[in-house]
């Protein structure tokens, strides 16, 4: 009775969700594939079929290849910078008792700011003449370190990723703490009785136990890095000399600024496929290392 009554819900309950997915997701995805084979490279849409022309153009476009390289570099920078910072904030925050609330607030606060606020703010912090960072370094007598952070090809990607990390780190710290919470404190105690140093106990106990959480975070970071757009767009628009151009910003530049929509659509497809492939491969690779207790 109940079962059959319940079965009547199947269609009406699934339809709204499916309608959203079909109209605003699947249909556009199919359209996008079509556009990527068309000659729509102007303000107004045209539907001429040009075969693989847009894709071969991608392959020969040094600026696209540079953008791909930068996108992966950006992910690399995120890995190298964000994950240590994340641990360095999460472990103390997890350990302390007093003042936890206020410290956590200060770490999370940037997360709720609008992405534009974070980006514009850092653009100003980095400003060589009006920014806090260079003038602060000068006041400390560290002129030699001052840089034109966003104008220097060797620092621009790192500078933007620092801004983006600052904005998002709160979420990551909270996620890591959730992982740390699941580790029994007895383990650490046992380790310290055995004479393990803090460092050893981190590598031998904490790290392996949060590895499952970390795996998810790395995949999430990868997907996020491949889609990076807003920080780059607001802070550097790809400069200097394309050294901070990433796939997202280059796609936007070509499609929406330059009205090369077919070209942009081809780029989007390449981006989507690389996210799928690399996430899959990454997942497989990390699974092998997974430590089970």
């Amino acid at each position: 009775m109940f079962q059959s009554a319940r079965r009547k819900l199947i269609l009406p309950f699934l339809l709204p969700g499916l309608a959203f997915i079909v109209v605003f997701f699947i249909y556009p995805v199919i359209q996008n594939i079509g556009i990527s084979f068309s000659n729509w490279n102007g303000i107004f849409r045209t539907n001429g079929y040009v075969g693989w022309a847009n894709y071969s153009r991608l392959w020969e476009d040094p600026y696209f290849l540079q953008a791909v390289r930068n996108t992966f570099l950006f992910f690399g920078t995120m890995l190298v910078l964000m994950f240590p910072i994340m641990f360095l904030l999460a472990i103390p925050l997890h350990a302390i008792k007093r003042g936890k609330y206020i410290f956590q607030f200060m770490i999370i606060a940037p997360v709720v700011l609008s992405v534009t606020v974070a980006a514009v703010l850092w653009k100003f912090l980095y400003n060589p003449n009006m920014g806090l960072i260079n003038s602060g370094l000068e006041a400390l007598g560290l002129e030699s370190i001052t840089r034109i952070w966003l104008g220097d090809s060797s620092t621009v990607l790192v500078a933007v990723s620092v801004a983006s990390i600052w904005h998002g780190i709160g979420t990551w710290v909270v996620l890591l703490i959730a992982g740390l919470d699941r580790i029994s404190p007895d383990l650490h105690e046992a380790a310290s009785i055995d004479g393990a140093t803090g460092w050893q106990s981190f590598w031998k106990i904490t790290f392996p136990l949060v590895w499952d959480v970390l795996k998810t975070l790395i995949i999430l970071a990868f997907i996020g890095a491949l889609q990076t757009f807003s920080f780059i767009y607001i802070m550097t628009d790809g400069g200097p000399q394309g050294n901070s151009e990433v796939m997202g910003s280059y796609l936007y530049k070509m499609a929406f600024t330059g009205n090369n929509f077919a070209y942009g659509a081809a780029m989007a497809l390449v981006m989507a496929v690389s996210i799928l492939v690399f996430s899959f491969v990454g997942n497989r690779l990390m699974k092998r290392d997974s430590i089970e207790y």
């Binding site: 009554a5 319940r6 079965r7 819900l9 309950f13 699934l14 969700g17 499916l18 959203f20 997915i21 605003f24 997701f25 699947i26 249909y27 556009p28 995805v29 556009i35 849409r45 904030l89 103390p92 925050l93 609330y101 956590q104 607030f105 200060m106 770490i107 999370i108 606060a109 709720v112 700011l113 609008s114 992405v115 534009t116 606020v117 514009v120 100003f124 400003n127 009006m130 920014g131 806090l132 003038s135 909270v174 996620l175 959730a178 919470d181 999430l220 491949l226 889609q227 607001i234 796939m247 997202g248 936007y252 499609a255 659509a265 989007a268 981006m271 989507a272 996210i275 799928l276 996430s279």
Partner: protein, 278 residues
């Protein structure tokens, strides 16, 4: 023991440094927003404003439309979150509790969206919204936002529904409640922790969404906060009116920081629970 307290002290030093830096940044935004136009360029970025001048705030509100942007963002974020949770809950309930033929395929259709970047749909979505007469409209943006978060919400909620014991439903059925009522009055409330987690993640995603809002909204009265502030930034670059931009940023910070201060526990719990399910 000494090693441990030394570690504690280090933990505090470390957290304090980071917190002070963030505090400094926030204070800097507010102080800069009080500087005059020429003062802004003439003085060191570290120097405090000459006077506590609130005209920039007034101008950001009136000329800069910060209030409208904020209201638009709140509207889009709020409606999208609610719609997304309801629609996803319905689908997740079916997928999690009622076996039917083709369930695997339906599930796959829902999951597809998780790995596909928004760039893949942004170009054609424009025509879709256009043909539905929903371009340049906040409601059009709501539909897109709901769609991009459905996959993740359905995923998290489905596994939650799956984990619920069957007793509740059976008890309700014995009491003669209709399946529809059972869903809304018993099952959905039971998923509250998962719903809260999804809500938090959705709110963050919608509040910060940049690309779709940038592409689909053109009308100044309809911009969301990220785009409105961005255009204010553009305007500042063309007119040198940076102080108004800073005032706008300051205004936009206050309500969200207050909300965070009030709901910090729910916030962090929501994020972590959402992720554990992923």
């Amino acid at each position: 023991m000494t090693g441990k307290s030394k570690g504690m002290r280090l933990a505090y030093v470390y957290l304090s440094l980071y917190s002070v830096f963030n505090l400094l940044v926030f204070v800097w935004i507010f102080l800069t927003a009080m500087k005059g136009q020429s003062e802004f360029f003439a003085t060191s970025p570290w120097s405090p404003p000459e006077a506590f001048n609130l005209t920039n705030f007034k101008e950001a509100w009136k000329v800069g439309h910060i209030g409208e942007f904020f209201a638009n963002s709140a509207y889009v974020t709020g409606i999208s979150t609610v719609v997304c949770l309801v629609v996803s809950s319905m689908a997740a309930y079916i997928l999690g509790r009622i076996p039917f033929r083709g369930r695997g395929i339906v599930q796959l259709v829902f999951m597809l969206g998780m790995m596909v970047p928004p760039f893949m749909i942004v170009i054609p979505l424009f025509s879709v919204l256009d043909s539905l007469l929903l371009l340049n409209s906040l409601n059009g943006l709501v539909l897109v936002y709901v769609t991009i978060q459905i996959p993740m919400n359905v995923y998290v909620l489905t596994s939650f529904y799956r984990s619920l014991p069957t007793e509740f439903e059976e008890a309700a059925a014995i009491d003669g409640a209709s399946p529809l009522r059972t869903f809304f009055t018993i099952m959905m409330p039971l998923t509250m922790p998962a719903l809260a987690a999804c809500a938090i993640i959705n709110i963050l995603a919608f509040w910060n969404e940049f690309l779709f809002a940038l592409v689909f909204l053109g009308d100044k009265t309809k911009l969301t906060l990220p785009i409105g502030l961005f255009y204010l930034n553009q305007g500042a670059e063309y007119s040198g009116k940076w102080t108004i931009l800073f005032a706008g940023m300051a205004i936009s910070c206050i309500p969200v920081l207050l909300l965070l201060a009030l709901f910090q526990k729910q916030f962090s719990r929501g994020i972590s629970q959402g992720a554990i399910k992923l």
